[in-house]
Amino acid sequence: MDWEYSAAPESSAIADIKDRYMPFIDGAFKEGGGEDRDTLNPGTGERLSTVSTVNSSDIDRAVKAARRAYENVWSNIPRTERGKYLFRIARAIAERSRELAVVETLDNGKPIKETRDFDVPATAQHFFYHAGWADKLQHLGLGPAPQPLGVAGQVIPWNFPLLMAAWKIAPALAAGNTVVIKPAETTPLSILVLAEIIADADLPPGVVNIVTGAGDVGSMLINHAGIDKVAFTGSTAVGRRIQRELAGTGRKITLELGGKGANIIFEDAAQDQAVEGIINGIFFNQGQVCCAGSRLLVQESIADEFIERLKQRVETLRVGDPMDKNTDVGAINSEAQLGRITALMNAGIAEGAELWSSSCPLPKNGYYLSPSIFTSATPSMRIAREEIFGPVLTTMTFRTPDEAVLKANNSPYGLSAGVWTEKGSRAMGMAAALRAGVIWDNTFNRFDPAASFGGYKESGFGREGGPSGLAAYLDTDDEAVAR
């Protein structure tokens, strides 16, 4: 029998993609004063919709609306009521979950299996979790009445557009702030559907404002004098620039930046599950994840056989139409990103690493890349040091646990790491020794609103999720000031 999965496409009709989308400011969708931008479907390379973008006076308007809402409305609503708005939003996200999943897949290029089973449910859960905190801030250990910071200016990336919107909006609102948020220019749609949900939930106008546009809009927002708090998720290069620009302004900042996570496989690992974990670590979301397990550190005593096993498993991954429910690996978000990934891959080849790519067929149109593994890589190679942000794994070996720690920590990044061993004391010991904000033992890419997420070193500072994530949106400066 020739076993073929038929294409199992999810219907895109439910998404009801409009021809045109507009920014959401002060409770209304209105044309912005900036240039229109088309957004593409990376799965096909074709135009999906057009988005009106903002100019500086729109940003001014948005910040003013957020300030008015903060001072006149949101600060005066009882905290329990603030929470109830967030609960409403959480439920409505669950109700429109299929629609949101399809919109996200069409605009971002990630498989419908991921948006349906991870992105959208996690988004709803994030709002639900933070809703419950709104009237319990006094239990955070920050004093009896922690105060919000005011108006938050937030800039989010294209890799998890809807989920990143939730990670920014939910804690900010739960803590009592109002927000002006800018989605990435290649993925503006899902947050604008979220804006409909927010409006349907009767959230007071100005509490959440969505400004659309590219990097220049983000820069204007972050540097706007009316912003009290800046939250940015994106590349380390841009994060450095933001931190530099805001030095001396007194504005509070949190940064979630890049990473080069080490996935460490010991000789006593549960090997089949370790293979799954590596695959999840680097091919989930096409590897376009800040906390991707993009460096495989495998103990030398099992390396050859293990990598063979890994390659065989990678061969079974299905790359294709993101709307097909059987697709494991979808499209890269943009042509530009595809170019960046291949440039680094070429550097890897030039530096002498060995490239293996899956032989899976790729669709003719759209931006696709075969899952790839570099072996014979050394720590000095660019593919071992720089964030590729694509479905490309760089493999190195180690001999002892100490060497694994040394190699894993030997990076300016420090966002995530994975440890695979059946030995409990080693799992605990590695978790303590690894300098990264998130350590996954015998698993990878697990997220939950109750578990803080964020980086050490150049992966950024500040946390999202959990009590420490909330603290980022509250005034925690409790030092007495001299008169």
Partner: protein, 325 residues
């Protein structure tokens, strides 16, 4: 410490390290404990992920037909009579009389004393007769009794023997005893193919399922089988994942292809197709063949037939349209 030998042809082909593993009980224990562990959370997630594979239209009909052709249609009740077994056999040969092109099942599975009834009813049909043996289902008796039990089935003409391992011995760490029994029963099988039931629900951990699988393969099992169907949990996707991985690794190491049979708890066509997806993706398409994969089940056949009709007719069928027996 006892030495044991594997059946002659197997020994010739096995690589040295596997032969060494069976030199004596402590070697066997060391080998089994040297196998990589299984992380329960990880494997359950992989199984759940594979279960979301979507099969549509043309593939689905092919999958249903394949699943039907892999069923070991089973009756293992104290109340079994010749009449019951005859009906079972007829159903195995012609699962859906209104659609005579429906594939026949791979086999029927009955108690040893029912084998002759099955053989005479199925003569010339191509449907095999499998019999349980070795003090099924508990496995709690002497080796003599277990061998005598097997002999009844083999003398009756059984094509396949589904034996149970001694779980008490396994859990007490007497892996050599478990091994010896399998070898002895394999010898008693003659030309009949041997399926070894691990009773995974009693082994209780995935690590034990992996060890039991390798132990049975080393001892000469033609099939490793999950359960007797008499206790819960019986077959589950993650357990079968472990077993599929074992036969795949066995083939990589020895060149020999052995079979897997989940039994018990497979009630719907959807369940069955999920197992086929697992076979395809974990072991490989070479295992999508009744010679290497079976379902130990009874009620699933009717659901497979009804789903088959739904594919062909374009509307859902009903229980009254398929034979209960």
């Amino acid at each position: 410490m006892t030495t044991r030998e594997l059946s002659p042809q197997a020994t010739e082909q096995l690589p040295a390290h596997l032969v060494d593993a069976t030199a004596d009980e402590s070697s066997l224990r060391r080998f089994l404990f040297g196998l990589p562990g299984v992380d329960p959370v990880g494997i359950e997630q992989r199984a759940a992920g594979l279960a979301t594979r979507s099969i549509k239209r043309a593939s689905k009909l092919a999958a249903i037909d394949m699943a039907i052709s892999m069923v070991d249609l089973t009756t293992l009740e104290g109340a079994d009579t010749p009449g019951k077994v005859r009906n079972l056999a007829r159903k195995a040969m012609m699962p859906d009389p209104d659609y005579p092109e429906t594939p026949r099942t791979a086999a029927i599975c009955v108690y040893p004393d029912m084998v002759p009834t099955g053989i005479s009813e199925l003569k010339g049909s191509g449907v095999k007769v499998a019999s349980v043996a070795s003090a099924f289902p508990s496995g709690r008796s002497s080796l003599e009794i277990k061998l005598a039990d097997t002999k009844i089935a083999v003398d009756g003409g059984a094509d396949e023997i589904d034996m149970v391992i001694d779980r008490g011995a396994f859990l007490a760490g007497r892996y050599g005893t478990v091994f010896e029994q399998i070898v002895a029963i394999k010898q008693a099988c003659g030309n009949a193919r041997l399926k070894v039931i691990l009773e995974t629900g009693e082994l209780a951990t995935y690590d034990n399922v992996r060890r039991g699988s390798w132990l049975a393969l080393l001892a000469g099992a033609d099939f490793i089988k999950t359960s007797t169907g008499k206790i819960s949990p019986a077959a589950t996707l993650p357990v079968v994942h472990v077993m599929l991985q074992a036969v795949k690794d066995w083939k990589i190491e020895t060149g020999e292809q052995r079979g897997v049979k989940p039994a018990g708890g497979i009630r719907t066509a959807k369940d069955a197709i999920r197992y086929l997806v697992a076979v395809n993706e974990i072991a490989g398409p070479e295992w999508l063949d009744p010679y290497y994969f079976r379902f130990g089940a009874s009620s699933v056949l009717n659901d497979l037939i009804m789903q088959r009709r739904a594919q062909l007719d374009g509307h859902y069928s009903g229980a009254d349209y398929v034979t209960a027996d």
